[in-house]
Symmetry: C2
Subunit: 335 residues, 2 copies
């Protein structure tokens, strides 16, 4: 039996509230196929890290996290929109242990359901004005943050799908791509939480930077789990990143440091349509022997430490402890 | 030589200004592929009816149309986003006489470039606050209008792609679908123009209704041209709607009123993967003989008249004349 990380219980509490709200927002109307496909990935699971970050940032600056719930729900919807479209782009069949939207309903409906979720994000945020004491100026700021994140995600995702064709992807390129694909949304969540909670510009900036660095640590660990975890825990087939030719930090490091034979073993699987399980295992063995996983872990720790440092100058509080716990969870989680 | 409609010169003037602004907004940065694919359909042509509607509505309520230009550009970007994604969903290869984005760059990039344009819409609108005298409240209202339109477009598009599999689509269903797919964006453009121009709620509502009815007339005429115009004028292959099994008003009417033989002739082409040109011509002949095109024209006129009537109670002005000219153009245009 795996020990539960203390954060997991807190995430579950947040999840219940956020999911209830999303269920209300996306209450099935006509055309039903649009609502069902839009809710599919949300219903399938997920940790609700982004909504948790919104609520915790709100609490961190002294706000009532309950007020931030519609924003938390909106950010999870934004995240789900990107997952549905990413799965089309990456041609992934499984996500969170269930078949992806385009596999179940076809690409046209998957495109539309992502668009639908994205459009609803802005509706939810602009309508939140009527339910909260927030000023119009601050609601507009939240909209700007959400848009900036979405723009960065598009850029990051395009890099992620064009990198496999590019031989000379560097660690710097990888970090730029992850910044767009993952950290920008974490950052927007923290900033929105701070804005909704009435935080100062200094707090907003610090929480944004905290979340940005946490996001990089999270993504590197996600890439590691993509290699070390099994299918049941991942919710998707083992070796997906390799098969898709994804240039993760681990792969970049391994390709640079492996022996010519080792490099060939990795390249045989990289971007291969249908590699054998034994070939994936051999590639993983090379990656392990090259010390690339240990290297990636150190990098993740480095970014987690950067994030930790940002919060140092703030007074101790329950919310601060919870924020730091997120980092501990990111760097130790097993799936 | 075809006589130019007087509106066309005005549209061209609007187009120059809006396109310059869009070119600035979408100035190519990295990743270049994202910018190039996002601008492709905008650069290929289009009449800029939606931006024109934004500017004219602004003028109609006494505002300076120049102030509404960023909103006009944003709405054209919103329109372009839906075109890129619609072409994926409809599997269309040609648009405005050029190959569609997914044909040129593949589905993953086409999905991302549509998402990118959509995200930028909100950025453009929220940033417009800094360039205009608009209140935050009114900018938020514009964001709500844009989101509502995007949500309706998603619903309309999903109906449009699910109708072909549905035998019993009625005229009412068609009008509901067109309301979502086309009229909702026309309506949002007019309302946003009115808001930006400082119009009263009564003006905003009237212009919204005017645009809604105009949109229905426009779409019905578009469906007619899809049958009567040639490929050069359409910018896409003749018979696309038939091939895709689209349930247009014309098809719904023809299927209801044709003889059993005529019905079979239409159904042979409807949703057929690769119909012969002679088969398309035969189906069109049946459609013409059944009086379905004349019927659709009358319906378009009916909606144009509804739109005309809405403006009757307003004082005469240059802007009002221009608005009414749009209706004349919609119901008489040849491509």
């Amino acid at each position: 039996m795996t020990l539960r990380h203390p954060l997991e219980t807190k995430l579950e509490n947040c999840r219940k509230k956020v999911d209830k709200l999303i269920e209300e927002i996306l209450e099935t109307k006509k055309p039903e196929i649009l609502y069902n496909s839009a809710k599919h990935i949300i219903k399938a699971g997920g940790k609700r890290l982004r909504p948790y970050l919104v609520c915790k940032s709100c609490e961190f600056v002294g706000g009532n996290p309950e007020i931030s719930l519609p924003f938390a729900a909106a950010m999870e919807m934004l995240h789900s929109f990107t997952l549905i479209h990413d799965d089309i782009m990456d041609n992934d069949n499984l996500r969170r242990g269930v078949q992806t939207v385009h596999v179940l309903w076809g690409i046209p409906i998957a495109v539309a359901s992502g668009d639908f979720l994205f459009a609803r994000v802005y509706e939810v945020i602009s309508k939140a004005l009527k339910q909260t004491v927030l000023s119009e100026k601050n609601v507009l700021k939240c909209i700007e943050k959400a848009s900036e994140a979405a723009i960065s995600i598009c850029k990051g995702q395009v890099l992620d799908i064009t990198y496999p064709k590019n031989e000379s992807v560097t660690e710097e390129d990888y970090l730029y791509m992850v910044g767009g694909k993952t950290s920008s949304l974490f950052k927007a969540c923290a900033e929105i939480g701070a804005i909704v909670g009435g935080g100062s510009p200094k707090e907003e900036e610090a929480l944004g930077k905290f979340a940005w660095n946490s996001g990089i640590a999270f993504q590197i660990m996600d890439d590691i789990l993509g290699i070390t975890a099994n299918e049941a825990k991942l919710g998707k087939p083992v070796g997906s990143d390799l098969r898709e030719g994804k240039k993760t930090l681990i792969i970049i490091h391994a390709l640079k440091h492996a022996s010519p034979t080792g490099k060939a073993t990795i390249e045989k699987v990289l971007g291969s349509d249908n590699p054998k399980l034994s070939e994936i295992e051999e590639a993983n063995k090379v990656i392990l022997e090259t010390g690339s996983i240990a290297y990636a872990k150190r990098k993740a720790e480095k970014y987690a430490n950067k994030a930790r440092k940002i919060l140092e100058s703030f007074e101790d509080s329950e919310a601060k402890k919870d924020m730091l716990e997120i980092l501990d969870y990111f760097t130790t989680r097993k799936y």
